[in-house]
Amino acid sequence: MIEFKNVSSVYGDGFIALSAIDLTIEDGDFVSIVGPAGAGKSTLLRLLIKELEPSDGEVLVDGVSLANVHRADIPLLRRKIGTVFQDFKLLASKNAYENVAFALEMTGASDDQIAEDVPKVLAIVGLADKMTNFPHQMSGGEKQRLAIARALIHRPRIMLADEPTGNLDLVNSHDVLQLLKKIHSLGTTVIMVTHNRDLVNSLEKRVITMEKGKIVRDQKSGGKYVI
């Protein structure tokens, strides 16, 4: 379970990204977060992987306050949470296989386990035949699928997707959404920040609408993109 308790986030230049947010996301939820640029959607996700610290309030994952997660333990937190970014954030110097293997190596997995798991997860996202390709040799859709594969390799219980389709065309966006749905159906909590109205409307799941750092609407089910 993820809880935001009275969370505010103010950037160094005084910009208020979040102001007094209260939000609970249950295990196994599929939540879309929508809203105009600068509404604080991405800030929410960045707080969850402790890329940012809240200026006020508390963020809890499974009852543990992230404020109590020591710097050295941040990698452990990030391995528990899979993250997909709009700009993919792939390692340019590593090929597809190595990008995924890297995430697994961090956990101290054995070579045998890596050799077994990585092709499997690449097959799930449809990149079985692109294992030796480098990111610059892949299309946008392929890159995002690779990023999802990397996020999946830990079998995370929470998956964050920050504008996962922001750089993709219609067909690729659809593919990525299908993947996220598949991941969700396996019991993973999915939190997706997006601008894509059709995507959100086709999901018919919980939709949280944000504006100016505040939650202005929270449709628990069958939510629609309304602004």
């Binding site: 990030r78 340019a92 990397r150």
Partner: protein
């Protein structure tokens, strides 16, 4: 750390080094240049040392004995002098030896040969040549001789004639050594800064990668280690490259240098001292690479 982890880190460092071949080549090249400068400085120091050495070798002090002195007394004095810690060696030249030397030196001069033949007695004095371990010791040795129980047997000590020359030689040696040190130090600092900056730039080109590794759960050590391996590789290859250029270049100039500066046998020196030279350059290269990488990467690990 497990063996598997070590192997992974090594492999990852090596792969990075290979894949960034342009950057790696450039960095290695700059480092090799720096190490080559180091080797050049080492060579200059060897030359400077052999110059001062050859000047200092020319300096000695001779003690001349009265012609009436018995040989056994002189041998006693020689023993005494040899026992001094500052003395490197003592050579006794008997009156007969001095006479033979003199004859040999003027073998071509008929007039001198004739005059010598007419002498009933050998006019030359027996002497002892003293070489000190360090040119600054001569004053002390001369002092000792002044106070010795055999002072009465000594005709003269030529230290007082050579005193000024010895002092000048000392000054030149000191000057050469301290300027050599100063230049070496200055160039070393510049060299270190150049290497450091090059490695920093290399890592800077990869700072986005480092950020991403942090965001997907890489611990600091996991991220840092392959870069350190890369740093070691830069140092290793740069050292080998520098040495591979240095030794042939040395044999090329060695004969010329030996011509102009007697006693400066560079090739021979660096072949005799090859293990030290190679190890020193390797150590400097690897330490430079690792330290530069460590400092450079620290900035990017704070995400």
């Amino acid at each position: 750390m497990s063996k598997e982890m070590m192997r992974r880190i090594m492999r990852s460092g090596w792969t990075n080094f290979k894949r960034n071949s342009y950057v790696s080549f450039g960095t290695t090249g700059v480092m090799a240049l720096v190490l080559f400068v180091f080797l050049g400085l080492m060579t200059l120091n060897v030359v400077a040392n052999s110059i001062t050495q050859s000047i200092e070798d020319k300096v000695d002090v001779s003690v001349y004995f009265k012609t009436t002195t018995a040989e056994e007394d002189i041998l006693k004095i020689q023993k005494d002098i040899e026992a001094l810690p500052a003395v490197s060696y003592v050579e006794y030249i008997s009156r007969e030896q001095a006479f033979e030397d003199f004859k040999a030196r003027h073998a071509g001069n008929a007039l001198i040969q004739e005059s010598l033949a007419e002498l009933d007695d050998n006019p030359l004095q027996a002497s002892v040549n003293i070489k000190a371990k360090d040119s600054s010791e001569y004053a002390g040795i001369a002092n000792y001789l002044e106070g010795t129980r055999f002072r009465a047997l000594i005709e003269k000590i030529n230290f007082y004639e050579n005193e000024q020359v010895i002092a000048r030689v000392q000054n030149i040696s000191k000057g050469l050594r301290s300027w050599g040190m100063a230049t070496t130090l200055l160039l070393s600092i510049i060299a270190v800064l150049v290497t450091f900056n090059t490695v920093r730039l290399t890592i800077y080109t990869q700072h986005q990668e480092i950020e991403i590794m942090r965001l997907v759960g890489g611990s600091n050590w996991h991220i840092r280690a392959p870069f350190l391996v890369e740093g070691v590789l830069y140092g290793l290859f740069a050292s080998l490259l520098a040495l591979a250029v240095f030794y042939p270049a040395l044999s090329f100039i060695s004969a010329d240098v030996a011509d102009k500066i007697p006693g400066a046998e560079l090739s021979k020196y660096f072949i005799i001292h090859a293990p030290q030279t190679v190890l020193t350059v390797l150590a400097i290269g690897v330490i430079l690479g690792v330290v530069s990488s460590t400092i450079a990467i620290r900035r990017f690990l704070r995400i």
